[in-house]
């Protein structure tokens, strides 16, 4: 009985972390038809990203947020960028520091049921709240300090331009980080929900 349970659990674990390429294709860049009226066709661009940037407490008055946004393409290339936003509370005022985002570009490879983004990141399937999602493992790309306890999951959603990069930009979709880091803290609304 014990042996059967172990075999079953191993099988479940294997299935949960190993998927054919077709699974990953649902997160590839694509254009969705969102037409409500057949006389007026409408489309939206969709790419993989984590839903909203999530903020994790790192101390009594500190927190850190992380944002990941992707362009995974049928032609075998990928781009993603990572933005971390440190938070603090001072005199009951919520503040953030702006750091420069990091952009990564390269060729993805599907093996062992996972999607390897160069040596930067490994994407594995995960299932949460009835949704197919991706779970990133940071390899050469360092996971932002303080976010170890954040369960970062990636789904897909409509996207235009965020963080200074446009996934469907004419620059062959290559992500670049513009901008700069700020050496000081800037206030944001305390009421912001994330």
């Amino acid at each position: 009985m014990k042996l059967i349970t172990i075999v079953f659990l191993s099988l479940v674990t294997f299935c949960a972390s190993s998927e054919p390429l077709s699974y990953y294709k649902q997160f590839f860049d694509r254009t969705n038809n969102v037409t409500h009226d057949p006389d007026f066709p409408e489309y939206e661009f969709v790419s993989a990203k984590n839903d909203l940037y999530q903020v994790a407490k790192t101390g009594p008055d500190n927190a850190v947020g992380a944002v990941l946004s992707f362009s995974l393409r049928e032609n075998g290339t990928y781009s993603f960028w990572l933005l971390t936003i440190p938070h603090r509370w001072k005199n009951e005022q919520r503040q953030i520091r702006i750091t420069k985002c990091q952009a990564f570009n390269g060729h993805w490879e599907h093996r062992e049921g996972k999607l390897f983004l160069g040596e930067d990141l490994i994407l594995e399937p995960t299932f949460l709240d009835g949704q197919n999602l991706l779970k990133p493992t940071f390899v050469k790309t360092k996971r932002p300090a303080g976010t170890e306890n954040i369960n970062i999951t990636i789904n897909d959603g409509s996207i235009d331009t965020i963080g200074g990069v446009a996934p469907d930009s004419p620059n062959n979709g290559i992500f670049k980080c513009g901008g700069f880091s700020l050496p000081f803290w800037i206030p944001i609304p305390n009421e912001r929900p994330w």
Partner: protein
């Protein structure tokens, strides 16, 4: 060309008149901060040492600074490009001050400040600068969308040019301190 000139002159006159003839009656302009969820262009207005200090930060670089808001026609591209080149001279971070008495509170979300001074912002020589803000609410399919509109304008070579940024109040992009 003539149409461009008319548009340019009209815009300049409209802003120019507001720029030099706003009469301040109140210094009760609240401190406010606006930062989009994923930072793009932020504005911070705060009291320091008896002055109102305004900071405008284009986090993703000057190429991503907002340079126009409103209806655009093909005929406007040349004007907008020239305007963008002038605005870009001010750089990724702008820091200017106003005397409190040159700021006016009109109603909630509606403020204005101005300063007549020959100075340089970044590498742009200006004769003065100012802000105008207002808030608005619109409805789409029964859902209310509230926005805060911020306009920074400078007078350079005798004409006014402006950059405008709109913030989503539903997403709590802005906070307004009590005053």
């Amino acid at each position: 060309m003539m149409k461009n000139l008319t548009f340019f002159t009209g815009l300049s006159m409209a802003l120019f008149s507001g720029f030099f003839f706003i009469q301040s009656t109140s210094a009760n302009v609240a401190d406010f901060q606006c930062v989009t969820a994923i930072p793009t262009t932020s504005i911070i207005m705060k009291d320091t040492d008896g002055k109102k200090w305004l900071e405008i930060i284009h986090h993703n670089g000057i190429q991503f600074a907002p340079i126009h808001s409103g209806t655009i026609t093909l005929n406007d591209f040349d004007f907008i490009q020239r305007k963008g080149q002038l605005l870009a001279k001010m750089g990724e971070m702008i820091r200017v001050s106003f005397e409190p008495e040159s700021c006016k509170y009109h109603e909630a979300g509606n403020y204005s400040c101005y300063k007549n001074i020959k100075t340089t912002i970044g590498s742009l020589a200006v004769n003065g600068y100012g802000i105008q803000t207002y808030s608005s609410e619109s409805f789409l399919y029964g859902t209310s969308f509230r926005e805060f509109h911020f306009k920074f304008y400078v007078n350079t070579s005798g004409r006014n040019i402006d950059m405008q940024m709109n913030y989503d109040l539903n997403s709590r992009d802005c906070s307004f301190d009590q005053f």
